[in-house]
Assembly symmetry: C2
Amino acid sequence: MADQSSFITEARREQIIKATIKVLDEIGFVSISLAKIAKMAKVSTGLISYHFKDKDDVLDNTLIYLLTIQFDYIKERVSEEETAYDQLIAFIDASLAYQGAHTVNNIALLEIIFNARTEDNVPYYRVSSDEEDPLYVYLQEILHSGQETHEFSEFNIKSLTTMIQGAISESILVNEELFDLEAYKNDLVSMVTKIVEKKS
Amino acid sequence: MADQSSFITEARREQIIKATIKVLDEIGFVSISLAKIAKMAKVSTGLISYHFKDKDDVLDNTLIYLLTIQFDYIKERVSEEETAYDQLIAFIDASLAYQGAHTVNNIALLEIIFNARTEDNVPYYRVSSDEEDPLYVYLQEILHSGQETHEFSEFNIKSLTTMIQGAISESILVNEELFDLEAYKNDLVSMVTKIVEKKS
DNA sequence: ATTTATTTTGATTGGTCAATCAAATTTACC
DNA sequence: GGTAAATTTGATTGACCAATCAAAATAAAT
């Protein structure tokens, strides 16, 4: 019984989270309201309050949901590779591929990270992006292992991590129609290769 | 008389814009209101409506104000240099230096770009970042002239522009205390150098 | 079948907001 | 000094919002 009801609860929570993602994509964080999420999910406003503590709780859970999906997608592809270099390429590939294929999720993620703030008004974008962000840590690990095995040259890991993540993030922002994601992927890979490769 | 009153108007507008920047830094785009801007500027709410069409107009003008300051700052430093390579380094230097020195302005800029939307709900961050963004165009020109004079190798200009801008933007997001901006600047310069330099 | 627990609804409440506007104040001009 | 124009105030209005809650509906248990 406790299990059964927990299934219902989980299904409802996911339904509400998915509706939140859609609304975020359509009208953005600034204009979102529980009433609009409820309408999108085709439930009453009270039901959202029943399954989540408050509005912030809905958005926090949506953020976790989005981060988890993205991380799993990338990790799955990277872990298929053997060498640090192949893993690095797979990381870039998968990151850009995820963005191309899950635009709605990415907009929603962006909207939350750039708008949500902690109770003491610290923006989420200043809290994460650091040691705490699993993707950051993961990329750092790849770069580190490549240097350990002397597969890579002696660059600064933190700086290259920041640069790669920035280069990936930036591509979400550019207008899709005018931007050839595939070409960018190839170019970014060859640029990063020039940085990590050992001088011959 | 028309001149005098226009002076007063301009002074008020700037006062309100500066207050808006402060409020954006402190509480963010989501929580901003005309009442809070008025309080920060120490004027009445009605006065803001007298000098600006509506709330969006205040924020649009604040965005233009911030973009102009940033662009002028960078352009001034880049234009002192002669060669494309020195200009490229100066561009990176100045961009990161501006971010380090004008944190409040940068937060405000970020808040507007990642939150404001056009009337048909298109986020500003999808409108700019392209051919329209003066900084983008400026960086592309530097890269282009470097290739024209065969000072640079044959990389894709658009891709490198996106990568550099992403690498610069990303550094706003990382936690200041844990991040050595000076070190990042040097590393980014040496990474970019590896990409633009001709094979010897 | 009846009772009990869980889930869902939608009206309500107190609060904030953008924008308006009549009245007050200040400034410009003669 | 007096008048007209420009500037500034702050109360007001109508819309929207988050959160609450009593009542209804559904499901589970006996």
